[in-house]
């Protein structure tokens, strides 16, 4: 297993927001194995927290276990994508079973976004409207595409992005973990560049803070990632904080190739 903690810088922040009494978001990040998981739970009483908690904890511990006996060379885009999709499926089964067997958890579910950095690449899987963004150079882009009614309406040309900002249907997801017996995560793999900053967030951030302000924050505060994470949460709350807000920031400080020839090793030292 390749230790990525010297290549990846990670900062997290989560907050219940200004309206909700408890936080149904769950997050975990492990720079050693290059994994970040964020889930935004839903369901009555504390069921939302239970659902997001199961998803994040199961994926964090089980993915780590699965990686222990894997050689870095065996990790490629396809095998990591399979790993993420399988574990999303396992989280789905665990939440679904808990919801079926215990009446107080009936109908609980969660969104999920999980990213893994490996061999100068990043694989991301998601279900629902929790997002992954990337800041590369001066370009800030949303990498994942929401599984939501609003996104479907945008895709079908029914409404524009600008109109979507004013829509009342922001909170309807078309895919979630734990609602049905099976679920399919949407998984993709992308190349990574040194200096990239990745943001995983719940809709408590993306609904409350504009993309321009998120980009400004990341650009201004990239030298202090924990402050950037806090600042994003604070902006969501300053704008009303109507939902739980969670962020995970991952900065690629240097390259992390799986195949380390002496030359690549040298290059990454000076990179």
């Amino acid at each position: 297993m390749l230790n990525l903690s010297s290549a990846l810088e990670v900062a997290t922040a989560t907050h219940p927001g200004m309206v909700r009494s408890h936080n149904e978001d769950s997050i975990a990040a492990d720079s050693e194995i290059g994994l970040a998981v964020l889930a935004d739970g839903m369901g009555g009483y504390n069921a939302g927290e239970v659902a997001s908690g199961i998803a994040v904890e199961l994926i964090r511990t089980e993915v780590k276990k699965a990686l222990v006996d894997r050689k870095p060379q065996d990790m490629n885009g396809t095998s990591v994508e399979t790993l993420l999709a399988e574990h999303a499926e396992r989280a789905n089964a665990a939440i679904y079973q808990a919801a079926q067997s215990q009446p107080q958890y009936s109908g609980m579910g969660t969104t999920l976004v999980v990213a893994m950095w490996h061999d100068n690449k990043m694989s991301v899987g998601h279900i629902g409207d929790s997002r992954l963004y990337r800041l590369r150079g001066g370009t800030f882009e949303q990498v994942t595409r929401d599984h939501s009614l609003l996104q479907e309406q945008i895709d079908s040309g029914m409404i524009t992005r600008e109109q979507a900002r004013h829509s009342q249907n922001k909170n309807l997801v078309t895919r979630a973990v734990g609602i049905d017996p099976t679920v399919e995560a949407e998984v993709h793999t992308y190349g990574v560049e040194q200096g990239d900053i990745y943001l995983l967030c719940s809709d408590g951030l993306s609904d409350m803070v504009s993309d321009e302000d998120i980009q400004l924050t990341l650009t201004s505060l990239h030298a202090n990632l924990p402050l950037a994470a806090q600042q994003l949460v604070q902006q969501a709350n300053d704008n009303g904080g109507r939902d739980n807000v969670s962020v995970i920031l991952v900065r690629v400080a240097r390259y992390y190739p799986a195949h380390t020839s002496w030359f690549e090793k040298l290059k990454s030292w000076f990179g």
């Binding site: 409404i159 009342q168 309807l172 609904d207 400004l216």
Partner: protein, 258 residues
């Protein structure tokens, strides 16, 4: 439930509840809203309602459809929009949660929609397409939404509708003036929510504009910023009018523009 108020030259004719997925407007009798006027086309326009959103579409009418004075082909209706068809006006009143409840709480909760697929892409543009859409009532799973109240008032809705993210505009404009060094006398207006000061890699601080006012926070470097002679810690520090900041060997004054 959302509704339309039909009026002619200022006098209200009737109210139309948008209780169907597709409500048609036109001169012919088969329309849900029939307007017998020659300026109105046989099949003039329709309104498709999906959950809380209503979409207006002109069905290729001869004289067109206006919303708030502008001709439209397709339009997502906002509360208090005025639709004009010929000399007739239809005011759109959106759905409002009852006063006294905590609308935002339930309103904003994430909910999941299940298959069958809602809002098939073609259904909206297709005049025959109403049946292609599933009924919105059956697709929401837990947590159940509170029963939608039917009585409403304009202002109540305006308060409940989620406003788009807003910048902290209610805060006074402030600026920084350089007091020492080569840039002396230069002024920098703090027009953004975040403004960084200093030299990257050496010492950087950020001034944030918040609803409560302006704050300075250390970002990077071994040396922390000094405000009015006092060295800051890593916490955000509120800035007052005429505070003097020392950063990367440069003194500057923070002041509010009145």
């Amino acid at each position: 439930m959302a509704k339309l108020i039909l009026s002619l030259e200022g006098s209200v004719i009737r109210e139309i509840a948008l209780d169907k997925e597709r409500v048609t407007i036109g001169r012919k009798p088969q329309n849900d809203v029939q307007i017998e006027n020659l300026a109105v086309s046989g099949e003039h326009a329709c309104i498709v309602t999906i959950l809380n959103d209503s979409f207006l579409e002109d069905l290729g009418s001869t004289n067109g459809t206006l919303v708030n004075g502008n001709p439209i082909k397709k339009h997502i209706l906002q509360n208090n929009d005025v639709i004009e068809i010929g000399k007739y006006k239809l005011k759109y009143i959106g759905e409002a949660p009852a006063a006294g409840q905590t609308p935002t709480e339930d309103f904003e909760k994430t909910m999941v929609m299940r298959a069958p697929k809602v809002a098939s892409p073609r259904a909206f543009g297709d005049t025959q397409g109403a049946s292609a859409q599933s009924s919105p009532g059956g697709v929401m799973t837990s947590p159940p939404k509170p029963a939608a109240p039917t009585t409403l008032a304009g202002p109540a809705h305006a308060a409940a509708a989620p406003p788009p993210p807003r910048p902290a505009q209610d805060v006074l404009l402030a600026a920084i003036q350089i007091l020492t060094g080569p840039g002396v006398g230069k002024e920098l207006e703090l027009v953004k929510n975040l403004t960084t000061l200093g030299k990257p890699g050496v010492q950087v601080a950020v001034i944030t504009r918040r609803p409560q006012g302006y704050f300075i926070t250390h970002v990077e470097g071994a040396i922390f910023p000094v405000v009015n002679g006092k060295t800051l810690d890593s916490q955000a520090h509120p800035l007052n009018d005429h505070d003097v900041i020392e950063l990367a060997g440069v003194k500057m004054e923070f002041f509010l523009k009145k």
